[in-house]
Subunit: 149 residues, 2 copies
Amino acid sequence: MTNNLIQGVGIHQLKVFVDERGALLHLMRNDSPLFKHFGEVYFSEINPGVVKAWKRHSRMTQYLAVPVGTVKFVLYDARVDSPTSGTLNIWTLGRPAEYKLLVVPPGICYGFQGVDSRPSLIANCSDIPHDPTELQALDQYTAKVPYQW
Amino acid sequence: MTNNLIQGVGIHQLKVFVDERGALLHLMRNDSPLFKHFGEVYFSEINPGVVKAWKRHSRMTQYLAVPVGTVKFVLYDARVDSPTSGTLNIWTLGRPAEYKLLVVPPGICYGFQGVDSRPSLIANCSDIPHDPTELQALDQYTAKVPYQW
């Protein structure tokens, strides 16, 4: 494990405008330099302490943020031909300081855990809509990923 | 005021997949019959009891849902040339039963109120990105809209 950023992974500050009525939170715009193509936007809610791991997409790039609660993300570069193959990256996302866009390219094993006392919400603005044929699930306890939840 | 649906306004059930780990909630896919164009996706959080009203877009169509909390929406058809001009529509959106997509076309005066005991989250997957030149704000107490918050 190193602290290098996995190739193709990105982490970008998102804009938040706070006032006493409630915040306005950016996720993605079609004129963002990060925007490539709109596939789907959906939410994954995760209850306190729950782990959802591992998954790997063969075609989808995910654009993730956490508008509610706090979520720990673990990413593992499982691409054999990647210069960062075998690298593990870990982030904890949530407001206010860590309201960020996490870009996860295809081929990365990823999992996440709700680490707030209330349910957390992950938003994903992906470049293709959900397609079960391009999504691989791995057992949470697989030895293929060097991380123990 | 009538109970007719304002012309161009739509309300559509969205899919929710619930398990003990937390729900998965649809918002928009590029292969949805409702999808036209991706402009921006962002969140508006609204604190308990707070009213955000009134606003009117001249070009943006909004595609709204409430993944967290409960929000009351009031829509008023302020288009003079609309067959439903003067019509008021009111919805309260939130999970589980009212996790719906509310489509608000340009020209509609709209406002909303957080009616949960916790902050609520509105997601908007709009057809154009935010542009202040196409957004008009009206006073919450204007006599132009026949609704008192």
